[in-house]
Amino acid sequence: MTSSKSFVRFDKVDKSYDGKVLVVKDLNLDINEGEFITMLGPSGSGKTTCLMMLAGFETPTNGEIYLDSKPISRIPPHKRGIGMVFQNYALFPHLTVYENLAFPLKVRKLSKDEIDKKVDKALSMVSLSGFEKRMPNQLSGGQQQRVAVARSLVFDPQLVLMDEPLGALDKNLRESMQYEIKHIHENIGVTVVYVTHDQSEALTMSSRIAVFNDGKVQQLSSPDKLYEEPVNSFVAEFIGENNTFTGEVTDISDGKCKVKLASGAEIISNPIRVKSKGEKTKVSLRPERAIIDPEAKMENKYKGKIEEIIYHGDHARVRLNLLGNKEFILKVPNSSARMDIKRGNEINVGWNSHDARALDPKSI
């Protein structure tokens, strides 16, 4: 990914609101044309600030943002031609659906015919044809959301920003809207920058995800890489469920390392962020990568006592006391074969050393 190819480029961007605290620190980010990039992070991590800088409602304190290789810091928002979907839709409550969609076209002085055509097209894209005359408050939340999406796309922007657009919807509607937005993106090929704090939303929709924390991008990669191969413990713990062991590296060789835990046990792990003996580390293991009754070739095999079983329908979460970690979670599929899983029983658990990633010791 070279900078000449990138469509949006954040170049060493800093942002501070009060002159004391940097909410965005030395941000470098390249977004390619046609990509669906999600900025994911806890609240206060600077992701919305980045979006606002891109939209033009905030100016970077340092650095520059390039859109199509032109610097845009000095261009006011209304000249940037970037579509935007807001958290609470921001539909104009005094205008009908048609007038809402026609607004960006009217300010661009398009002819009535063209406006009608484009509004029609945009509404049919979000399957809301026939709703032109409704007022926003006569629509359900999901419909309002779709109108907001249609409005952000009706003037054919090359870039659309979405600021937690699904936050106000209930769970089922949110999921169906995720697919809908994803399909719209695939159909028209527009570049989308999407902000959310919901990791499952990010994982389903994005081509790449930028995980923000503390004003910095912690990791920028595709959803599967982000989940399978987190580069630091923040990402590992923020995305998905995670079992962690804190310890010290006692041996490192052949792409494997031994980590000695407080309980005295040594586990064999995959060294990602540790380089030498003696380093403190946090080993991260996805719950689904640990299995009951391990195969013989697995390098990590231990006994754990079942503390709690949490029923989840299709699977159960089993909380174990394993190697001094009382919060070790195991995912067990709901099948009739495992009748021995009962509270208080001891079971054998094991995992491959490759799946246990020794990361930085920083805790969140």
Partner: protein, 417 residues
């Protein structure tokens, strides 16, 4: 229908529906008891004075009762020439009775409202009538003063015959009913009330406009500033509310008078020559300045409460969709503030149209409003029925404004906060 609704009974056999209604009735009665004091209070201090005012403005029984026989005798007088002998006889009889009861003064005041010049001739008649001889009163009365021989004055008396009259309302718009029963305007140089109505409407309109122009940016600032600054600004807006109206008006007098602070300053910086100090008080200018300042909070508060509810993301959405700041303001922000503008304008206009103290103190002759005229008639001419008539006309005017507003904007769209 197969599924006939079954009557549900309570345990003691009464239909549930009946019992529920009974309970509801009890609750309604209790609720009514709670508001009853207010209702009673309103009835006494609000509704009944208005009804009284209405009655007062059309009531003319005083004159009718003072000259019963005269009016009876006048019934078949056509009013073209001097009335016949029997009218004079009756008038003499009625007048003597009035003198006995010492009520002729009141009559002379009332007749003087109708036509100037009655006061002196009634006084004279009272003196002379003591030495009147029996019979032939027509000649004797006409001899008292030449006006008693003028048919115009007798017509004026006849006009006061009906017990109820709407002449006060006509007077309020500079009109009267002439001898033929036609409505005509008073002479050009005596038309004062129409001018006053127009001036009242004009001042109320411009005060509303000025308030709007000044309040809109203030309210916008209040709604968008961070809390710690907006609170301070809010106090500045509300400060006048905590100061007596008289104090505020008096301070405007100190500021605006010819030897006042503003003029001193203008002379000092050389904008105005010392011998040509501006007249900013005791005229319309003073009324405009003081009323605008005093009524400003009534415009700021509704506007503020509406603007506070407008999400800043709407303006951002407008901009991100390509609207310039002006288009975004005009097409997105402004339409959303209309309920506040409506509420504020209605409030300020209605308050301004009936304003009294401030125009009285700083308005002078050219800056007074209809309410000052009402007060004048209450206090000095004591023509309460005329004052009532004008008060009622003002009330109807306010209701008309309200009605028009409801038709244009809809009263449901009003937001007072």
């Amino acid at each position: 229908m197969s599924s006939e609704t079954q009557k549900i009974l309570t345990t003691d056999g009464i239909p549930l529906e009946v019992s529920l209604k009974k309970v509801e009735r009890k609750n309604k009665f209790k609720a009514f008891l709670l508001v009853a004091p207010l209702l009673f209070f309103l009835l006494i201090v609000y509704i009944s004075p208005i009804v009284g005012m209405l009655f007062n403005s059309v009531d003319d029984r005083m004159v009718t009762n003072a000259l019963p026989k005269t009016f009876k005798a006048m019934e078949d007088w056509d009013g073209k020439e001097l009335p016949p002998e029997k009218v004079f006889d009756a008038f003499h009889f009625d007048f003597q009775k009035l003198i006995e009861e010492e009520r002729e003064g009141k009559l002379s005041t009332q007749l003087n409202y109708e036509k100037n010049g009655f006061k002196s001739i009634i006084k004279k008649l009272r003196r002379k009538s003591k030495s009147f001889e029996e019979g032939n009163y027509k000649e004797q009365i006409m001899a008292v003063h030449e006006r008693w021989a003028d048919v115009e004055y007798w017509r004026a008396i006849k006009r006061r015959a009906p017990a109820y009259t709407y002449s006060k309302y006509l007077k309020g718009v500079d009109m009267y009913q002439n001898e033929d029963g036609k409505l005509v305007q008073v002479e050009e140089d005596r038309r004062i009330y129409k001018k006053l109505w127009v001036r009242t409407l004009k001042i109320a309109f411009y005060v509303t406009l000025f308030c709007f122009l000044m309040a809109y940016p203030i309210a916008h600032l209040l709604a968008t500033l961070p809390m710690k600054y907006s609170n301070l600004l809010m106090i500045c807006v509300l400060l006048p509310f905590w100061t007596s109206l008289l104090v505020r008006t008096a301070s405007w007098m100190i500021l605006l008078q010819q030897q006042g602070v503003v003029n001193d300053f203008l002379v000092w910086i050389g904008v105005v020559a010392n011998d040509k100090r501006l007249e900013m008080m005791y005229n319309e200018t003073g009324t405009y300045i003081a009323m605008t300042q005093i009524l400003l909070p009534f415009m700021v508060l509704p506007l503020y409460s509406v603007m506070k509810t407008i999400s800043p993301s709407l303006v951002r959405a407008g901009k991100s969709l390509g609207g310039t700041p002006f288009i975004t303001f005009w097409k997105v922000y402004f339409p959303l503030t209309i309920p506040g503008i409506g509420a504020g304008s209605l409030l300020v206009f209605i308050l301004a149209i009936g304003y009294y103290i401030t125009p009285e103190l700083v308005g002078g002759a050219s800056g007074t409003l209809i309410s000052n005229q009402i007060a004048y008639h209450m206090k000095y001419t004591l023509d309460w029925s005329f004052a009532s008539a004008m008060g009622l006309m003002l009330l109807v005017g306010v209701l008309a404004v309200y009605w028009v507003y409801n038709k244009l904007v809809g009263i449901d769209n009003i937001k007072l906060g």
